[in-house]
């Protein structure tokens, strides 16, 4: 058994998949609230990196996370098509994940789970719960709670330049 299986009794799951860069990621379908087309994004000045901005989901203001930043992937090029949005629920709060493309829903089982190869997990291996071998590609299972966690560092805007420098 892999190291990941010690965290969960079973890795049989149904995953919503999406692409980021050229990789396939998945989140547990139970955590997913809905999937949306690109939404106008309002940036939040002084926000920690990884926080992409705010979107309006039918009158609710959601925080949008840029997963590229979180997973250590290169930033989305400015001319890229509008990102898609996967809305997940974490601790009762709805959070929007910005992704490149939506895949589909796949059933995965313990049988084809394996430890993700190092080069694929990037600098943040703890965000990946495990990898599933699908036909011809590898599905990286994302730990949603960790992926949307923002360090609550004290941010002090308005410090004079001299102090920063």
């Amino acid at each position: 058994m892999t190291a990941a299986s010690t965290e969960r009794p079973s890795l049989d799951a149904r995953m919503v998949t999406f692409e980021l860069g050229d990789r396939l990621y998945g989140v547990d379908v139970r955590a997913v609230q809905e999937v949306l087309r690109g939404q106008p994004l309002t940036r939040v000045p002084l926000a920690p990196p990884g926080l992409a901005g705010l979107i309006n989901l039918r009158g609710q203001v959601l925080t949008a996370m840029d997963l590229c930043e979180r997973l250590g992937l290169p930033p989305r090029p400015p001319d890229a098509p509008e990102p898609m949005v996967v809305v997940v629920r974490v601790d009762g709060e709805s959070i929007a994940l910005l992704v490149d493309r939506i895949g589909g829903v796949v059933d995965v089982s313990d049988d084809n789970v394996e430890a993700p190869p190092d080069p694929l997990t990037g600098p943040t291996p703890h965000l990946i719960q495990g990898a599933y071998k699908l036909e011809g590609e590898l599905l990286l299972a994302l730990d949603v709670e960790r992926a949307v966690y923002l360090p609550q560092e004290v941010i002090r805007p308005g410090i004079s330049r001299a102090e920063v420098g």
Partner: protein, 691 residues
């Protein structure tokens, strides 16, 4: 709703008691099944205890007598000194029945009726002493008595308990959120419909507008509670405090029925209690000192609440010694809150404001009442946190007034939307004093650097400027060199917030930010604008704290002194052109809004023109007479100034706002107003071109 003329306290007591009695019935029955349950006994005890307490307070003596002995019995049971027998259950149940009857009688005619409770009291007392119950009277008679008291149900009248229901506050919050959504959607539809006047859509939008407005009001009302909920606890506080401090206090309350949002009521509780304590402890003098000063020995503390301009005003006034600004300044200097020179240079009003400085205290000794370092600064912080303001006025020897202004609700607030670096932000209107635009030439000239921070001299008063783009670390700046800033007030300080553009004033629906953004502290929430995009709401208090230097007052001594001498004789005037290029000056203190209204908002009633404005109908005044001069605005838009004097408002049509100027209070010149329409105390100055 009811014709019995019961006052609110009794109403509430009845509702509460009815609910409690239902619970009591269930508990007593359950108690028979498990006579040893302390929990059930404690619950029953609490219920009876509550009824006893309130009935004593409301002087329902029979009710009090019955519940009093009942409570004793229950206390014995609860403490295990007696154990529950069926005889005891019987008297308890008949006690509940009697309480019910008394309550019914109170509800019917406000009195306890002529029911005789002596028998029951004796019966309970007998059980208490362990005497067998048979000795008093046969049970049958009790039954008979019950029937006599029972009010005959001649008509099916709703009882107080049936006419109202308790609703979970969360549900009300959810409703309020939905109404907020509806208001936004309505705004969007109204915008669409505005492009096709006369269409079916426009008619439907009009109806939607009405319904949404009424719904909004209705849901707001469900959340409103009279301020008396807070005040009702204060007489006791004042009494106890007066006794502790050796002062006699008469407490007067005016406007108990003034309502405000329930959540705000909670937030106002502590600041208000603090102000009341302060007034009794510091404000009022000891009786001997009062008599020596020629005042009655008992001080008067007046609480006043009223609605004004979409806000609730709460005043705490005492007729005590008043606050000596010099003493406040002295204490502030002693505590190192400002320098002696700065304090001496301040106007008396500004010295008084030092009372709000963090850490300020005048108490020389610690009492348990006040002087523990938690002072007026905390009061102000709490009030500003809910979008309110606080001001203090004091006349030496005559008394002090603290005035809180609190928004009616937190969910929907008026705000100014501005643009900075291509993003839109909302600034709560309550913080906005005025907007200033300087063209490139003046922007360069009327600028000073004080300690490295940019300062603008606004009508001679230095105002520190904070560049929003720089503060948020986003690139910006207007390429044309114009300088535009909003003068904001928070934390007792004024500053100019430099922005790129001013977009609109609108009612915004406040959405909470994700907890993960709370630590930023710069934004108090978010809102959704008419086009569906999210805009952040600036936290002006936080901005003032972080972006401004720590010195409480920026002005230099000389300037402040100069201002002190000038201030009383000068008045701010709004200059506007009216028909025929004439200029009028309107005292700025009376101007509540400057607006652009659609021409369709004007209606003719009789021989007068009126305007529908914010749910009210106000008379429209055209100072230019009939010779309407060509305006820069398209003819279907009306530029107006909303002028308020006392409780009355009038809308004045103007061609163009020219400037705001300072002038001597006694401006010579003729009053040129078509005074017949105007409220008598409205004064206008028509200034000649000299200005």
């Amino acid at each position: 709703m009811h014709d019995t003329g019961l006052d609110d306290i009794v109403q509430e007591f009845l509702i509460e008691s009815h609910e409690n009695l239902d619970q009591l019935d269930r508990d007593l029955v359950a108690l028979e099944q498990q006579p040893e349950s302390r929990e059930l006994l404690a619950s029953v005890f609490r219920t009876i205890h509550t009824i006893k307490g309130t009935s004593g307070f409301l002087a329902f003596h029979k009710l009090e007598a019955v519940t009093h002995v009942g409570e004793n019995l229950l206390a014995r049971l609860r403490d295990g000194q007696l154990s529950l027998t069926s005889a005891i259950t019987d008297v308890l149940l008949s006690m509940v029945d009697t309480v019910r009857e008394l309550l019914a009688s109170i509800e019917a005619d406000g009195t306890e009726g002529d029911a005789d409770v002596e028998e029951l009291v004796v019966a309970i007392a007998a059980v208490l002493e362990g005497v067998p119950r048979t000795s008093t009277r046969p049970e049958v008679e009790v039954e008979v008595e019950v029937e006599v008291i029972e009010p005959f149900p001649a008509e099916s009248r709703r009882t107080v308990a049936d006419a109202s229901i308790r609703v979970d506050v969360d549900l009300l919050d959810a409703l309020m959120r939905l109404v907020g959504e509806l208001v936004l959607t309505r705004n969007q539809i109204a915008r669409e419909a505005g492009q096709a006047p006369g269409s079916e859509l426009a008619g439907a939008a009009q109806r939607l507008n009405l319904i949404a407005g009424e719904l909004h009001e209705g849901v707001m009302k469900t959340r409103m509670q009279p301020i008396d909920h807070l005040w009702s606890k204060l007489p006791r506080v004042v009494r106890d405090l007066g006794a502790t401090c050796g002062k006699e206090v008469n407490l007067t309350m005016v406007g108990r029925e003034t309502e405000l949002d329930r959540s705000l009521l909670e937030s106002v509780k502590d600041p208000l209690t603090h102000l009341v304590r302060n007034a009794v402890d510091h404000g009022l003098e000891a009786p001997a000192a009062r008599v020596a000063a020629g005042k009655p020995a008992a001080g008067t503390l007046t609480l006043r609440a009223y609605h004004e301009g979409g806000q609730v005003v709460v005043e705490v006034c005492d007729d005590g010694a008043g606050i000596d600004p010099a003493r406040i300044a002295g204490a502030a200097v002693a505590q190192g809150l400002c320098t002696r020179a700065a304090a001496d240079a301040m106007s008396r009003a500004d010295q008084l404001q030092l009372i709000f400085a963090p850490g300020f205290s005048t108490a020389t000794t610690l009492t348990h009442v006040s002087g523990r370092g938690v002072g007026m600064d905390v009061v102000r912080t709490n009030i500003e946190a809910i979008g309110g303001t606080i001001e203090i006025e004091s006349v030496l020897g005559r008394g002090t007034t603290c005035r809180l202004r609190i928004p009616l609700t937190l969910a929907i607030v008026p705000a100014l939307t501005v643009e900075c670096a291509g993003d839109r932000y909302a600034v709560p209107q309550v913080n906005v004093l005025e907007l200033v635009a300087l063209d490139a030439d003046r922007a360069l000239v009327e600028f000073e650097e004080v300690n490295g921070a940019p300062v603008h001299l606004l009508r001679g008063v230095p105002i520190p400027l904070v560049n929003l783009a720089e503060f948020l670390q986003i690139g910006s700046g207007r390429p044309d060199g114009q300088l535009l800033f909003a003068v904001l007030q928070a934390e007792g300080r004024r500053f100019g917030l430099v922005i790129d553009r001013v977009l609109n004033t609108e009612e915004i629906v406040v959405k909470p930010l994700s907890p993960r953004l709370k630590t930023l502290g710069t934004f108090s929430g978010a809102t959704i604008l008419g086009d569906g995009r999210v805009a952040l709401i600036l936290d002006v208090q936080s901005l003032a704290r972080r972006a401004l230097p720590a010195e409480p007052l920026e002005r230099t001594g000389a300037q402040a002194a100069e201002e002190t001498q000038e201030a009383p004789d000068r008045v701010s005037l709004l200059l506007a052109t009216v028909g025929g290029g004439r200029r009028v000056a309107i005292p700025l203190s009376s101007v509540t809004r400057i607006e652009h209204l659609p021409a369709t908002a004007v209606e003719v009633v009789g021989s007068r023109e009126v305007v529908h404005y914010r749910g009210a109908i106000l008379p429209l005044l055209r100072l230019g007479g009939d010779s309407a001069a060509p305006s820069e605005l398209p003819s279907d838009v009306l530029s107006v100034v909303v002028y308020t004097a006392g409780a009355r408002s009038v809308v004045i049509a103007v061609d163009e706002i020219v400037d705001i100027v300072e002038a001597d209070a006694e401006v010579p010149g003729d009053l040129d107003v078509r005074g017949a329409i105007l409220a008598a105390d409205a004064r206008f100055y028509e200034l000649e071109d000299a200005l």
